[in-house]
Symmetry: C2
Subunit: 336 residues, 2 copies
């Protein structure tokens, strides 16, 4: 049953189970601290495809296939796939997943897409609309750079606040019952725009939305940061995470002891030149569905509040002088 608590949060009293999950990543990600956790590491940027966009599609397909395998499911068992990505018209998801012949719910939440698809997938499962569904997302450094910034060949300098788009994809399979952690609450974020216009500082644009969603989730559920083993944002990077902690401290909420961020976890700050950390839908997609859920399976983490953050801009909106609206969706995942 879905029970609304407070203004923005929904409790899922049965709690859909994550019965399978997988994350795949690119070469650079595979050289980082989470190398051991990924289900597969691709050794080149095109994965044998003719373009980076097609490579991204192939990565997402691989993550979905591996997650289905782990849940012991075939495509015909799935009632829905919920997915989206950063590319124009979400072509990574549509082209990557078209061959599965599974009812498809396209979603767009920029880098919050993993949390967005997981929230909606969990709600549909709890409601009895879905018996088995897959939720997932992807991003690719090369396809994102040419989409949002400059052609790679241009060799532009990156600013210190810039984040590095992760080449990776992740997928989770949700079912009403089974073995695995449960999704027991969700909160859909509001669009939050404080007027940040620097497209090389996404962390700053998204931090206020993350602060708002975390604060309202804690208020709605009458819980404290200490009630969670991990409050995981994905992905504010170093600049955005620092801002998030400060924004919450101003409201007398201190999450520093339990906070981590997918964009800080995926790369080695000292030895990998990624400036403010990782970003992209595939960052939280691949980190949540590997390292984090594996630590939950081992019992190292039991109660994780996953807060996916997204910057809802486009190159067109930035060129037209618009600011960058942020959004953050929260999903509570806990061991049974």
């Amino acid at each position: 049953m879905i029970e609304r608590v407070g203004r923005y949060t929904m409790k899922l009293t049965q709690g859909p189970v994550i019965t399978g999950y997988a994350g795949v990543a690119g070469k650079k990600e595979g050289e980082g601290p989470l190398a051991e956790d990924f289900d597969f590491i691709f050794e080149d940027t095109t994965i044998g495809e003719k373009s980076w966009e097609k490579a991204e599609s192939a990565m997402l397909r691989e993550a979905v296939s591996r997650a289905m395998d782990k849940a012991n499911k075939s495509p015909s068992d799935l009632d829905f796939l919920l997915a989206g990505d950063l590319l124009d018209q979400c072509i990574s998801a549509t082209f990557g997943l078209r061959g599965f012949n599974i009812p498809f719910l396209g979603m767009y939440g920029a880098c919050s897409t993993m949390a967005l698809t997981m929230s909606v997938g969990a709600l549909l499962t709890e409601a009895g609309a879905s018996r088995v569904c897959g939720v997932g997302t992807s991003s690719h450094f090369c396809s994102a750079e040419r989409q949002f910034r400059f052609p790679l060949e241009y060799g532009g300098q990156r600013t210190p606040t810039a984040q590095w788009t992760v080449t990776g994809a992740g997928c989770a399979i949700l079912e009403p019952s089974g073995s695995g952690p449960r999704i027991t609450a969700a909160s859909i974020g509001r669009i939050c725009d404080l007027g940040i216009k620097d497209a090389n500082n996404m962390g700053a644009a998204m931090a206020p939305a993350a602060a708002e969603t975390i604060a309202s989730f804690l208020e709605d559920t009458k819980t404290q940061p200490g009630d969670y083993d991990l409050i995981l944002t994905g992905d504010l990077g170093y600049v955005g995470s620092e801002l998030l902690l400060r924004l919450l401290q101003e409201q007398e909420t201190d999450i520093a002891q339990v906070h981590d961020d997918c964009g800080m976890m995926i790369f080695d700050r000292d030895n990998q030149d990624v400036h403010a950390g990782g970003s992209g839908c595939g960052c939280s997609g691949s980190v949540l569905n590997t390292n984090v859920l594996k630590r939950m399976a081992k019992g190292e983490l039991n109660r994780v509040l996953f807060v996916g953050t997204g910057a809802l801009m486009s190159p067109t909106s930035s060129q037209q002088g618009e600011s960058i609206p942020g959004i953050a969706h929260a999903v509570l995942i806990q061991n049974q």
Copy 2:
């Protein structure tokens, strides 16, 4: 309660009520056969905004505001807004709706977005996750042309199979109870790709998906075309509609007597130079939320199967030689 029937369809036994709806349109649409039905007709393409993209955002905001007014709701009453559009990274929806401060679910279904948001909104309402939500979408001829085809200034010739992107927006407000027609079933479509590559023939790319969704909906619900007052596709236009009828006839399903298409309804084929008819998210968005729901309110129509169709391509995918995958989602709307 949500009850799964057959392989792809969900019955909504209570049936969320459409308690408010509105559609706005541009000048050309306002000179067409549905002129009397639109809630507002904008007289120029920029609506006083500095760009067509900003104008599209303003149109969507206007449609959402008017729908909320009619349902006697203010933004703070809404649990969710579900919206998306054709622009890269769905900026019409995010920038148009950011000021409302309503939890936002971004969705991408190309021209099927009205049916996609309405299906998911209805499911969330039936499940008790949403007490009041708004579902909507928009498109704009000028922003779509420069996004998907050529700069308007180029003055390119349009092919006979090309559809004309509607400048318009629509929104419906859904609640668990109240006065208005009910959404009593929904079916989420699969991605269907028969290899059509002509970006100027979207109707042909989408018709197979529409045929598949309509056929499986009829099979799942054990109903016949004659059980509906209207099977409304949105939007295949003239070329795609003809193909749809033929594809269904090959399966011995004849919907000709009850079929109409938003893309055929919105323009006057003889006197408005639109070739194969209207298209764009705002086409079914504005036609459903004006003419069709008004005819339901008058009792001229009692049982409407609305089948939103989308072409899930991007300029990048077409430039890379990809075909155009189609999708169609069905929503059954009936008077109480």
